[in-house]
């Protein structure tokens, strides 16, 4: 006898053509240990309500159509075991579309913004490919490994719709587009790397607006780890001389200024150095409040001059920076 568990599913329901507001509908069912979230979506449709809508196609974790959120966790529903979700969240599962504000019908969303951004970074090898090749193009082991599994992306959109930076700033390319930008930029056959690096270096739309929350790494069903590629794109900007001196690049490089002097980041200096003298004015009200409460403190010296203690063996840090630094701004 195979055991089953009785669960309650609360599913987001909305029809953009007829409904004023979305609502949740509850379905109860016995679930077996081998059933996937996709099976549960099917059972809602087949056993309870034929009008329930969701995308599905391959059932093999490769087409990227069937992504939804279960209790807030982005999942590719054909890859996610229902028992695993019950273990994480208990016997009440909440099914939501990837993005509620983009819902068209139930689990189906309008992914236009995802595809627009994905297309904008030229997600293909842009090179002089011989139309009648006589042999395959060779890549070294290092070149292949350097792609870092970024080519496993199936464009499901899980990372894109989990990204809080995108929610706050609609210009932002988002993690999936960045992963693709990295994947094709490091492809030795491609000639558009410079262009992609310049696009993704722009403040507002580019990698500098990433908030470092790791939601994308957590959301990816294929272990693409988009934030790792975002960091690589940051690095590539400096390696290939694309980085312009601006508030974000100075902020990254400026960490070394304090570290060479005391071993610590110099919290006051990093703001001044990144923003420049003119940009400092907007931080003055906050700085005054911080001074008043003692967050910028005078007890050990004057801010900007000698207020920070030094670490022990500071010479080691200076020496390691000297011999290990590989990039320049």
């Amino acid at each position: 006898m195979s055991e089953t568990k009785k669960i309650t599913i609360k599913a987001f329901r909305f029809n953009a053509e007829t409904d004023y507001l979305p609502y949740y509908k509850t379905y109860e069912m016995e679930v077996g240990k081998d059933e996937l979230i996709l099976d549960l979506l099917n059972r809602i449709k087949w056993e309870h309500d034929g009008s329930f809508s969701y995308r599905r196609s391959c059932r093999h974790g490769i087409c990227g159509s069937c992504s939804i959120k279960v209790n807030g966790k982005p999942v590719l529903s054909c890859k996610e075991n229902a028992y695993d979700m019950i273990k994480l969240f208990g016997e009440e599962l909440i099914f939501d579309p990837q993005s509620k504000k983009r819902a068209i019908k139930d689990m189906i969303i309008d992914k236009k913004d995802f595809w627009d951004k994905h297309n904008a970074i030229k997600p293909y090898v842009n090179g002089n490919v011989d139309p009648h090749p006589t042999h395959e193009t060779h890549m070294t082991k290092e070149q292949v490994e350097n792609i870092l599994d970024a080519d496993y992306c199936i464009q499901c959109g899980n990372c894109h719709y989990a990204c809080p930076a995108l929610e706050a700033n609609s210009e932002f390319f988002g993690p999936a587009a960045f992963a693709a930008a990295y994947r094709f930029t490091v492809d030795p056959r491609d000639n558009s790397g410079q262009e992609r690096l310049e696009m993704t270096a722009q403040l507002g739309q580019g990698v500098w607006d990433c908030v470092k929350c790791y939601e994308c790494a957590e959301a990816c069903p294929k272990d693409v780890n988009p934030i790792e590629k975002i960091m690589k794109l940051h690095n590539l900007q400096f390696e290939q001389g694309v980085a312009q001196s601006n508030v974000a690049t100075r902020h990254a490089e400026g960490f070394l200024r304090g570290m060479k002097k005391t071993g610590y980041l110099d919290e006051a200096d990093i703001v001044l150095y990144s923003e420049g003298m003119l940009g400092m004015y907007k931080h003055l009200p906050t700085a005054l409040k911080m001074m008043k409460s003692g967050k910028i403190h005078w007890h050990s010296g004057i801010p900007f001059i000698n207020s920070i203690p030094k670490i022990k063996n500071l010479d080691e840090v200076k020496k390691l920076i000297e011999i290990s630094q590989t990039n320049k701004l």
Binding site: A168, E215, F238, I296, S307
Partner: protein, 295 residues
């Protein structure tokens, strides 16, 4: 239980803008009989920004910090989520890539150090819960926090990516973390359940994407307030800085007045264990918090 002994990686903020974090951490450890050796040699972790500039250099410098915990033969504890993730990511990389470790060790050899991979790295929150134990903390409570609704704010770098974090955070579910909630309950406070508790505070883009930063912090603060929080508590001083220091400007972006004390996790524990006003250091907060202390 034999005495717990840790090597403390303070990070930069505890030595600069949040002295209350360091003093309350040390006070809590003393009350609980936990021995702390401060790693005075440890430098900045790079906070992910140095990593964006020069990944290899950041790995070398983080490995150096870990070397000092290894020399003492102790587990390294952190009191900042971002120090935690950057140290733990370095450890993970070096422990799993012998070729890369050799490259890093080549540099470290120039200053007479070697990374061996013998020290664990965990955040103080999980040292308290996993090693010391909630039941034992409960027994030491002098001033129960039963008068407060406390909103736990976990901070990204303790819970994601879960595969890495599960090496040291007791298997926390990043979509429904519970450790801080159970700690609040152990101190007899009332944990506030709200959707933003595992979300991002926006600190890391404070300078270059200020609007994004203010919106993310604002969403979390208002969510906590709307669920009747009297105060918020976080294990991360960067979350603290964003949420405590910028409430005025966040309020302007969100179109609502925001006033909510944001405590460091050790400050909350220190309040319940009966540490002194000076040790808890509520006067260092920008958003009023002094009233939370009652002798």
């Amino acid at each position: 239980m034999s005495q717990l002994h840790y090597a403390l990686f303070t990070g930069c903020t505890a030595k600069q803008s949040t002295p209350e974090l360091l003093s309350s951490t040390l006070a809590v450890a003393e009350k609980l009989g936990i021995k702390i050796t401060i790693l005075e040699e440890a430098s900045c972790c790079g906070a992910s920004h140095l990593q964006d500039f020069d990944e290899f250099l950041a790995h070398v410098l983080n490995a150096r910090n870990i070397c000092y915990a290894e020399k003492l033969g102790l587990t390294m504890i952190t009191i900042c989520n971002t120090c935690q993730i950057n140290s733990a990511m370095t450890k993970h990389k070096l422990d799993n890539d012998p070729e890369y470790r050799a490259r890093v060790n080549e540099k470290l050899a120039e200053v007479g150090l070697e990374y061996k991979g013998t020290s664990q790295i965990k955040h103080f929150l999980y040292a308290l819960i996993e090693d010391y134990g909630l039941e034992n903390i409960k027994d030491r409570v002098k001033t129960p926090l039963s008068r407060f609704n406390i909103a736990p704010f976990y901070g990204c770098h303790n819970i994601r990516p879960s595969e890495l974090q599960h090496e040291s955070n007791g298997g926390e579910n990043p979509y429904n973390p519970t450790s801080l909630d159970s700690l609040i309950a152990a101190l007899e406070g009332h944990p506030v359940n709200y959707a933003s508790k595992n979300k991002c505070c926006g600190f890391h883009v404070e300078l270059q994407a200020n609007h994004t930063s203010e919106i993310l912090a604002g969403n979390a603060l208002l969510d906590a307030l709307d669920n009747n929080a009297d105060l918020m508590v976080t294990p991360c001083p960067l979350c603290h800085l964003k949420m405590d220091t910028y409430q005025d400007s966040i309020g302007k972006v969100m179109g609502r007045d925001i006033e909510l004390p944001v405590l460091h996790m050790p400050q909350m524990v220190a309040l319940a264990l009966g540490c002194t006003e000076k040790e808890i250091g509520l006067k260092y907060h920008v958003s009023k918090a002094k009233h939370l202390y009652t002798a």
